[in-house]
Symmetry: C2
Subunit: 340 residues, 2 copies
């Protein structure tokens, strides 16, 4: 890191005034082409950097891209952010991150913060499907700031999205449990006002129907992505006349809580109950009783989202691009559901 | 969220020009006091918000605070960020986050990005102790932008820091292993150019010396905070004539790898080898063979760092405040080191 070169340093070197340097750098018409070139060349040689913020106000470009996620400390969001950074940093963009903690007001504040920081684009996994945030999202698209949804999306005209095929993931996980001989399959679902959870549930339901099994609403428990909530759900399920012999959880954390509670109730896994989680969090692999889980291609999802941003920011055609990219999930079968 | 009110809306309502509104809002001397008041009151009634970025350039305040961490997806950094957010968001500050991935060039770019986003302060856990970043850190303090270190600090005049007592943590963990009857205690150390790892090592050494045991350099293995590195370290340790009967790891991830490798080599934990990690990552508690670990009071550390920032930003006295806050670690004893 060199000491910061200022316009005064350039002026001194060329024996002209700082005002002339400033005008030359800003392409002021009062400055001759010869002087402008000389100043530009000298500025380059001296590794001069204009104040990026002032520059952003003039050019409308800050080279910052904002990423908004519900939380940073899950493996899934951590990995998507890493994928976004890998692609964007190679193109000299800086990535700044905000988290919403699933709070929509916070999400709107984050969007405002990023707009005020003059980001060139926003890559966001939205918090829910209520309409509160629609006005600010519209303001972003109206201002031609590239906006890309990943994982959690909304249907908004002109906004691209990168997701995995959650329906297929739910179907695969449920079919796998049926293949293991399970007949009473419960589902720990997230908030179905979010498309991802709705689609996982739909995939689960269709797999049951395709195998001549019914969807039993008693077996569908709404849980947050938390260990304690998975344990609570199992407590409810074990009270049923016919307790389930399998659980497909839309969250690894809830799956972990479910497993802990099943064990505490004397159930053997996978012999009495098979369990599949969602997200492929590292702990699912670390456990001695490793947990089967759906891998969401997080790193890839981040990279693709970043590439969609680059395509949009570099799109000079005036034609709006809207892409809907859907990646394939991979089911990782481990001890918690792998009956021999 | 209302539609954004512009100066044109205010002008229309008052039947004056937008230029007059703009001048009034910016306290231009050409505008009469009566007009200025009228414009201000109307702007308030209409819930007008000036462009925060332009405002920041004038006032020097953006209400954004930057947080820089090596990585966001560890429980420790996730929790410190949460603590920072809890305190600052209550005071109407927005938090924006950047990660360095332990790369110093990236760290310098992050610092520049935050400066260009006009943050009011920076709370940072630095990547290493080399001197590359010192110039930009000095530029930050020279510009009176509050800079607070947490967890990983540097000795810089006028910069406050919030850490835990890593020396005490290393001492406690090692004394605990000695109390379990262990006599050949290995240490998986991080990069000792960072104070935290240096101090954990010093605490480990002093506990050995206080118990009439020697520090054996063969037992000190430098590892990154990664599962694979813990496994590699154990492979080396098991080749020694006297393999260790305990491991104090400065990272939970390395401790996990060590445990996996010990088990693969037929060692029983804690009977043959006791293991203590560092960081109290959630998985240490989740494992069937739960892992003893040092809790770093992450949430509290974040809160205290945010409070130090608030004290500095609100300090009008002109007297520079430098605080060194040291929190107490807590050793969580679990199955991996709890011999009965």
């Amino acid at each position: 890191m060199n000491e910061k070169v200022t316009i005064y340093d350039i002026a001194k070197k060329l024996n002209i005034t700082a005002a002339t340097v400033s005008r030359a750098l800003n392409n002021n018409a009062k400055i001759s082409e010869t002087t402008r070139k000389l100043v530009m060349e000298t500025a380059n040689q001296m590794n001069y950097k204009q104040n990026q913020l002032a520059q952003a106000l003039r050019s409308g470009r800050s080279n910052n891209v904002g990423v908004i996620v519900p939380r940073v400390d899950s493996n899934f969001f951590g990995s998507t952010i890493r994928g976004i950074e890998e692609v964007l940093q190679a193109m000299k963009y800086n990535v700044i991150i905000c988290q919403t903690h699933e709070d929509e007001e916070r999400e709107i504040e984050n969007l405002n913060t990023l707009l005020n920081a003059q980001v060139d684009g926003i890559i966001i996994s939205i918090t829910n499907k209520s309409k509160e945030n629609e006005k600010i999202l519209k303001r972003i698209t109206d201002n031609n700031i590239p906006l890309i949804f990943f994982d959690r999306r909304k249907n908004i005209d002109g906004v691209s999205s990168v997701t995995i095929d959650d329906y297929k993931a739910g179907y695969m996980a449920t079919q796998h449990l049926i293949d293991q001989g399970c007949r009473f399959i419960a589902h720990l679902s997230g908030d179905q006002s979010l498309e991802i959870y709705e689609n996982r549930f739909k995939g689960y339901s269709q797999a049951l129907l395709d195998n001549d099994m019914k969807v039993n609403q008693d077996y569908v428990i709404f849980t947050k992505s938390k260990v304690e909530e998975g344990a609570l759900a199992v407590k409810k399920l074990l009270l049923l006349d016919q307790a389930p012999d399998a659980i497909f959880s839309s969250s690894d954390f809830a799956a972990l809580g479910a497993i802990q509670e099943l064990k505490a109730s004397g159930k053997s896994i996978p012999d009495d109950v098979c369990v599949v989680g969602f997200g492929n969090e590292p702990f699912t692999k670390f456990m001695e009783l490793s947990i089967s889980s759906v891998d969401q291609a997080a790193l890839e999802m981040g990279k693709v989202a970043a590439e969609v941003f680059l395509e949009q920011i570099n799109n000079k055609s005036g034609v709006k691009i809207e892409k809907k990219m859907v990646l394939s999930p991979v089911l990782q079968i481990r001890k918690s559901s792998g009956r021999k």
